[in-house]
Symmetry: D2
Subunit: 363 residues, 4 copies
């Protein structure tokens, strides 16, 4: 239960970290969209670990296959099934997880919820690897949004205490893919790399913040009072493991602001209603207002660390020490950047379909 997202663009996730595959069924993609495995592959490849960013050396050769929904190079109106086969996963290292849950991981809650029957290998369904499916779905959504002129762009804005200085969308586009941190500020990126290297050497991990924005989003997306644009975006972001906070526009900083400062003043610009500032993050009353949609997502430090930790042996019923072997990302933030983009795309696409925007464009 709970493995489908969306109302008109329905993404259903399946697969386990060390099972036979990771996959996704996407139902609701209009017919007639040109789509190749290669395009999706390109997005999935952006999720690959990068050594310089503290990524694991584990080689992930994730090859995307389109099993259904595409005919003669175009979507057929049938549900898409997109899949990556898992290969060569060594599940040996996870044997102890069975009875001794790793702090910060979902081992304990999954064990409890599924009565011990869950596939714990590699974290099973709780693994970050599941997000490869999200990215595949996001690639489809992204193509649909592009037709409407919408562009989605995420980048790392903070690692530990190091914050990127604000950049324009143009700068972010230019800079973010040039450094392993996917950070729009090259100077900050350099410092972040050093910090991560230091953290990694200490056998520890570090968190960060990702900013995501959607440009050229038509006003009118969102279905309040419950299916607000913020609400459905937040729900989508929280599906990414390690996300612990989501804010829009001025977000938590709004708490300290006066209304006279926070209110975004309306003005006419080339005959179009715009706002002078964007403290709303492009959303008012749960509905897009035509300004860029801006959200920030807090990512906790990777729970897998090599320093010794305390835990509990669930079978023996006693406190024990735990040492996690193997190599792990010491900072998951840059790898989460394309996943954040994917969830933004998937959600916007659903709302665009609800608003009847996409079908017309494809015709």
């Amino acid at each position: 239960m709970g493995n489908s997202l969306g109302k008109l663009f329905v993404v259903t996730s399946f697969g386990e970290s060390h099972g036979s595959c990771i996959g996704v069924v996407v139902d609701g993609c209009p017919a007639g969209l040109p789509l190749t495995a290669a395009e999706i592959q390109k997005e999935v490849d952006r999720r690959r670990p990068v050594a310089a960013a503290g990524g694991t050396a584990r080689k992930e050769q994730d090859k995307v296959e389109v099993l259904a929904g595409v005919y003669s190079g175009k979507t057929s109106g049938a549900p898409l099934c997109l899949l990556i086969w898992n290969r060569d996963a060594d599940s040996g290292a996870y044997e102890q997880v069975r009875s001794v849950p790793r702090p910060g991981h979902a081992d304990y809650t999954a064990w409890l919820k599924y009565g011990g029957y869950n596939d714990f290998r590699g974290g099973g369904r709780s693994s970050g690897r599941i997000t490869a499916g999200f990215v595949m779905a996001g690639a489809v959504a992204g193509k649909l949004l592009k037709i409407c002129g919408v562009e989605v762009l995420a980048h790392t804005v903070q690692i530990g205490d190091i914050k990127a200085t604000p950049q324009t969308p143009a700068q972010i586009k230019k800079n973010a893919d040039k450094n392993p941190l996917k950070c729009g500020d090259p100077l900050a990126a350099a410092r972040m790399i050093k910090l991560i290297e230091k953290i990694r050497k200490g056998g520890d991990s570090i968190g960060g913040i990702i900013e995501v924005m959607a440009l050229n989003v038509p006003a009118g997306l969102g279905e309040p009072v419950f299916d607000t644009l913020e609400g459905d975006l937040a729900k989508a972001f929280f599906a990414i493991p390690a996300v612990k906070g989501v804010e829009f526009g001025s977000g938590f900083a709004s708490a300290t602001m006066k209304g006279s400062l926070h209110n975004d003043i309306f003005m006419l610009k080339n005959g179009k209603v715009v706002t002078l500032t964007n403290n709303a993050g492009g959303i008012a009353g749960g509905i897009s207002n035509g300004m860029p949609i801006v959200a920030r997502i807090a990512v906790k430090p990777t729970p897998s660390i090599s320093v010794k930790q305390r835990s509990v042996d669930l079978k023996a019923g006693k406190n024990v020490d735990l040492s996690i072997k193997g190599r792990h990302d010491s900072c998951i933030v840059p790898r989460a950047v394309p996943v954040v983009e994917a969830m933004m795309k998937v959600t916007l696409c659903d709302f665009a379909l609800r608003a009847g925007l996409i079908k017309e464009v494809l015709k």
Copy 2:
């Protein structure tokens, strides 16, 4: 579209700020729960404006009526219809909203989305008044949760720059209802009151942060990968107007933390698995872990301020000045506290039903 929330405990909202009523249909409440209008009234009354907290003097005599779903004092298994009649609303002051959208409000986006047919009086469906319906639904959910031993508790932790010092749940329970701010720290509350008074005199408004916790939540609630506990809670919180950020546990502070510090160590306490810290906010892998669920919600300053603002006349197609008359809350935070509680209750109740917890208890 978008006015229903939940899967097994389905809340459907209806009514407008200055229409004939505000109401809610709650489908999925198990039969046999004792329920009176008075109990629901008590929760709704907590939403009333308080003068000392910058609340409007407007007298809201919201009387709850139970139109359906209760028979002989107990829920009958039929959908509940809970309703408050609107009385004596003066919509005259809102006439200008028709063509000149108020900055920070949903006037513009609602006008756009509904083609100008939306009921703009008093903010229509975008008004905070709609949350009275949320609170009615929350009152029902709260009773069901109470049967399972779950307690939900929200309080103000920040107004502007003034932060409450952390308190124990016992202290919060004791203190929060004693001051108009619903703040668990009496000293901070006193300072908040002064700040709000100052803001009010300046014709301005101020934001804040609410913390909400759920105690004694059984481990195992949440349905990842998409219907995570964080995700569905966040979606529910973002349905509250003025909410711009949601975080769980250490939230955005996680960005600066190392894994060795952030990971909550498991330990046995009286034979039960607990964690030493609660940076996870009671949720791991989207599933409750048995620790208190803790979230913080950022509330922006009330957009209605009396200082002059710039806006656009949509009909005349020109920039104009706007001055909002009437009295408005200069700080909406304390009134949002019971609403935040309600959304937490409604969401937990849905997950408890999905997990099959509540029905058994009622038998």
Copy 3:
């Protein structure tokens, strides 16, 4: 649970037969539709019992109120709340139902499902009276469909063994509202009236069949493989109490037909693709094909009869005799005709919205 129907045009039912009201929330109606209580009233009035058709003499003065969703005479994009207050219901006669379930009624299953807490008075949620809410929702859907040129038309085609001879849509429109049976064949109607009178005198009841058709339905409605047009229509029809069968086009007669006879031959008529016959009932592969959608609905005899029946006393745990007092419809079929129309309208409207047809028309 289970009291909402539809995906984009969501109808949520509430109220009980002898509670304070019968109501419906309709979410998803586009903004800008002119709508008055009087129009809805007109449809609800068609559901009234007619003495000549064996209807009860009970006077139902059901006055429709629009509580939400309409502003300045037009739908505002907010959810509609439509309501009828119950008046003067005498629940005394139902006291024995509490422990002795009436054969053919839902007394026993409702008692079991809701643990004895269900409001059994007047049949509670299982009463035919609940369908007044369906008719209110159908009135809204009907107006939206009319904009698209779609017309929905139901009529009685069989009562007991008396079958109406087939009529053209024009004849049905002309005849059906002229006789209390809502039968398109005046001669058959006269015989049906006599049969019902005879049945009524015997303290018994009789069943029948309703045919419903939708004209000018655009091709392309329906979302297979699961949300087929037949499937969602059938689900909607089975929500009407007493319905025990649903068939489309040649329906059960298809069983005896050869493919060469059943297959509807395609041909061009005025440049448009039509079929020579309509054994498919206007639906192929779960999708409308542009021909009239035709369904037939089997209605069982009213279970409330005055002849003595056997039952069980659930409390005493013994077999007993039961005699149902009061006056009841001896044939519910004609009263179900507008309800069948309503369910057809509500379902088609949902599919028309999914296909993006209605919004454009309203602009």
Copy 4:
């Protein structure tokens, strides 16, 4: 859109007749159910064409693979992905379908709905082959129901004009799998075979009726007023291509019955409430009453026939003659029997989960 079914036991279908695979994702199966591909295979094999029943000689070696959701031989709580690879499909014969739709098929409506982009080969998504996925999902649901003691049993009761004489469940179980028609009456089966052979020789096809029953279904399943047991079962049955009618209990025959005859009399039998007759088909007020659930499903004749038919060339815009080559089932009814069973299982399983019945049993 429309390719998912169920609320707590969610079946998502994907794949095309001549694409790379046919598959299904099943979300909501509780953890801990022993499950092997072989068990599912057994059900899928029952769908195979049988020559004696007019089935095509086409050899379908459909091998079931479990791609996700099973760990160490038991369901893990993760979504199941069940898949059959398509092999050796010759799509050449379908080339003409592109512009000349086959009467009785979904070629025309699918072409219209999906703007000509649909994968028409082998009927694409509208092919009966898609139901192999339904059967895989049904195999899982069937295992869960078996734990609760529920048994589902379908059999052919009519082919053309030949009707089986009623049999006891025990006789049906004994007889139905012994003849290629899956008919519980061996004598009727023999006559049906002869009829089909005659039809086949004439290049034509014939329809029929399937009866399905569920035994030992606990009372209380179904969620009225909209999610009735009849409604959701009917929706599920209509997802099977060629189904044109669904009735429960006395169904369409109810139209001719008096209430005194139709009402099922309650009586105590071994301390349990039962009904003397079962005209209700085990369902009252949309809720199961503990008696066998009985439905009948009308199946139209296979539209693929070799006799010449008229159609329209959509591209050339003119009437043409059409002759369908290749071998096709001249009676699809027996192959639909396990599919009908599957849809009954899937739907009952969803309601059993909603009622909280299954989880407890697995523990």
